[in-house]
């Protein structure tokens, strides 16, 4: 197991390197380099100034030189400055990731808390009214546009009922500490519910089909046959086995939680990593986009590994050597 872990971690290094090359090339090939964007609409700029600026930014160097420069600086912890925010990119990205956590973590837990019991019950009472209702609900969940659902929630709770803020991050002027936390919670509720609903739909479906498969297994029948109470059969024999594939799906889903957040974060004007990607790509802030995307890529790799490890830990039939 340890050897496997080390090997997987070592394999990650060339992967991260490869991804950084791809992200770099994609962003470099974008129409309009930083200097164009910097000077756009400024009539006083002369051609010589543009040349000078391009030289300062190193935009005249060949691609591989530019990449090696970026990599060299990155390896020393210098990921450059954000053109839009005028702060070091790394600081900015960490800041935004922390903000995103406010949404991703609670929504993830909320989705779990609803989807697993609903999925299990749905499977245990297949073709019951509850099962049909749950199936219907999952259809709604996968068909509804997240951003529209968000806008409708804003309309209901902020415009009509006036109980929650229509978006944003914090009310200005609230003293730090306990009041600030309570204030933050009010902003968190709507986006968390929207994000959770989207995950819930797919998760309920997975739980249901995984459970359906397991309760038909011989070992579940054996457990029943030897007279175990139904609660033990379901909770101990069936559910624990049904959850194995779900853990994998969850681990693989966490990166997309961050990546799928651009829509929800845009609707609710939440300054998270998803919103940062939209802004930096849209505004030509490539140094930021590069690091934000690289962060997501690393997240994917790490959680892929965690999914594999969790699988081996939970299912003794699976071994890595």
């Amino acid at each position: 197991m340890a050897a496997y872990l080390v090997r997987r971690l070592l394999q990650m290094i060339p992967l991260v390197f490869g991804i950084s090359v791809i992200v770099f090339l994609v962003l470099v090939m974008a129409p309009g380099d930083p200097v164009d964007l910097l000077l756009a609409g400024n009539p006083k700029v002369r051609a010589e100034d543009i040349q000078a600026l391009r030289k300062i930014y190193g935009l005249d160097d060949p691609l591989h030189v530019r990449y090696v420069k970026w990599l060299w600086n990155a390896l020393q912890g210098d990921f450059g400055y954000s053109r839009t925010y005028k702060v070091p990119v790394l600081e900015l990205v960490w800041d935004r990731v922390a903000n995103s956590m406010w949404l991703t973590l609670p929504s993830f837990l909320l989705a779990l808390a609803v989807a697993i019991p609903v999925g299990v019950t749905s499977a245990l009472r297949q073709y019951s009214a509850l099962d049909y209702a749950a199936t219907f609900f999952t259809f709604f969940g996968v068909s509804i546009p997240a951003f529209w659902f968000g806008i409708m929630m804003i309309y209901l709770f902020a415009v009509v009922l006036r109980v929650l803020p229509p978006g944003g991050f914090a009310t200005p002027g609230v003293p730090p500490g306990w009041p600030a936390l309570m204030d933050r919670l009010r902003y968190v509720i709507l986006p968390v519910v929207v994000l959770a609903l989207l995950q819930m739909a797919a998760l309920t479906r997975y739980t249901r089909s995984s459970m359906l498969e397991v309760i038909r297994q011989d070992y579940v029948r054996t457990a029943r046959a030897k007279g175990l109470p139904e609660g033990v059969v379901i909770g101990k024999h069936a559910l624990r086995n049904a959850l194995i594939p779900i853990v994998t799906i969850l681990a693989l889903g966490i990166p997309s939680l961050f990546a799928g957040a651009p829509l929800t974060e845009t609707v609710f004007a939440w300054p998270g990593i998803g919103r940062l990607i939209v802004e930096s790509v849209g505004g030509g802030d490539y140094a930021t986009a590069q690091v934000a995307l690289l962060f997501l890529a690393v997240l994917v790799l790490v959680f892929n590994l965690l999914a594999d490890l969790a699988y081996a830990l939970l299912d003794p039939r699976i071994r890595y050597d």
Partner: protein, 307 residues
């Protein structure tokens, strides 16, 4: 589609092709039976009906829309529903009903084209991967794994920023992340079919790889591809709407349901209905495709019925 069995030279070999052969006795083809099963599926028929209405309405929009798509009624901006504007007007004075109809054309075109392109690309990759196997299969399937594990939205945003302005561009961008499911599906089918007796028989008779692929493998792997493509229309429409909402997709003045929502949120205090209609259209359309696709899955492959 008809005669997919009549070309078979070997009757015994035809029997091996599970589903279709058994229907021979009743004189009904596989597709007729599938249609009968589909007709009994109420949600699927409702979904199909909604899709049909949307397609007709979009196709006829130049004739049934009250105004031309870029017509601006400056005197009546952000007006509530009225006789002149059944669903009101937006902040520029566009008639909302007109914009919804024309946007439907864009969304359906993008949805169908992207689904079709994804199905084609996925079928080719899956076919090659399953048929030739070996290192090629390995390389292609690892690539599929990688593509599936990439969180697609950020990459789509970047791609859409470069290529997304046009209809063709957005279709291509959505296709980039749309083909992997079909590829896996087709590969799986091909791996199973490759070793059936009728394919063996065809090979023994000296059929070329091309003939085996087009005559025997593709027709028999078609049903799941059709189901996947139907469901893909819905998700392509959602993706287009999301990109357009973020400002990277279809650009105004061309209306799309996504870009109609882009500004609507700013006016939610004054004219909330402006944000309601386009989203409702997206929701209904995607839901309809999902219901239809789900029913289609049950109808085309009763063995797969998951309940």
């Amino acid at each position: 589609m008809a005669g997919r069995l009549s070309t078979e030279t070997n009757a015994a070999a035809a029997q091996a092709a599970a589903g279709p052969a058994r229907t021979w006795a009743t004189g009904q083809s596989y597709w007729q039976l599938a249609w009968r099963r589909l007709r009994r599926h109420r949600l699927a028929m409702a979904g199909g009906g909604v899709v049909l209405v949307l397609m007709v309405a979009s196709a006829l929009s130049p004739w049934i829309a009250p105004y031309p798509p870029t017509h601006i009624d400056l005197a009546n901006r952000m007006s509530p529903p009225s006789g002149r504007h059944p669903l009101g007007t937006d902040e520029l004075g566009h008639d909302v009903l007109t914009r919804l109809l024309y946007a439907g054309r864009v969304s359906l075109t993008v949805g169908f084209s992207a689904a079709l392109a994804s199905a084609l690309l996925g079928t080719v990759v899956g076919l090659v991967s399953g048929f030739y196997g070996g290192w090629l299969d390995n390389v292609l399937m690892r690539f599929v794994d990688i593509m599936l594990s990439i969180p697609d939205l950020p990459i789509l945003i970047i791609l859409a920023r470069y290529f997304g302005g046009s209809l063709l561009g957005i279709v291509l961008v959505i296709t980039v992340f749309g083909w992997m499911g079909t590829a896996r599906l087709v590969r799986g089918e091909v791996l199973q079919l490759k070793n059936t007796d009728f394919v063996e028989a065809a090979r023994a008779l000296g059929a070329s790889p091309g003939r085996i692929m087009f005559r025997h493998l593709i027709p028999n792997a078609l049903a799941p591809v059709i189901v996947a493509a139907t469901l893909a229309v819905g998700s392509a429409i959602l993706t287009e709407a999301a990109l357009s909402y973020l400002g990277f997709g279809i650009q105004p003045p061309t209306p799309s349901w996504g870009n109609m929502l882009q500004n609507a949120q700013d006016f939610i205090w004054r004219t909330p209905l402006l944000a309601f209609w386009p989203g409702l259209m997206i929701f209904l359309t995607v839901l309809a495709f999902n219901f239809f696709g789900d029913g289609l899955r049950d109808a085309l492959d009763p063995r797969l019925r998951t309940g």
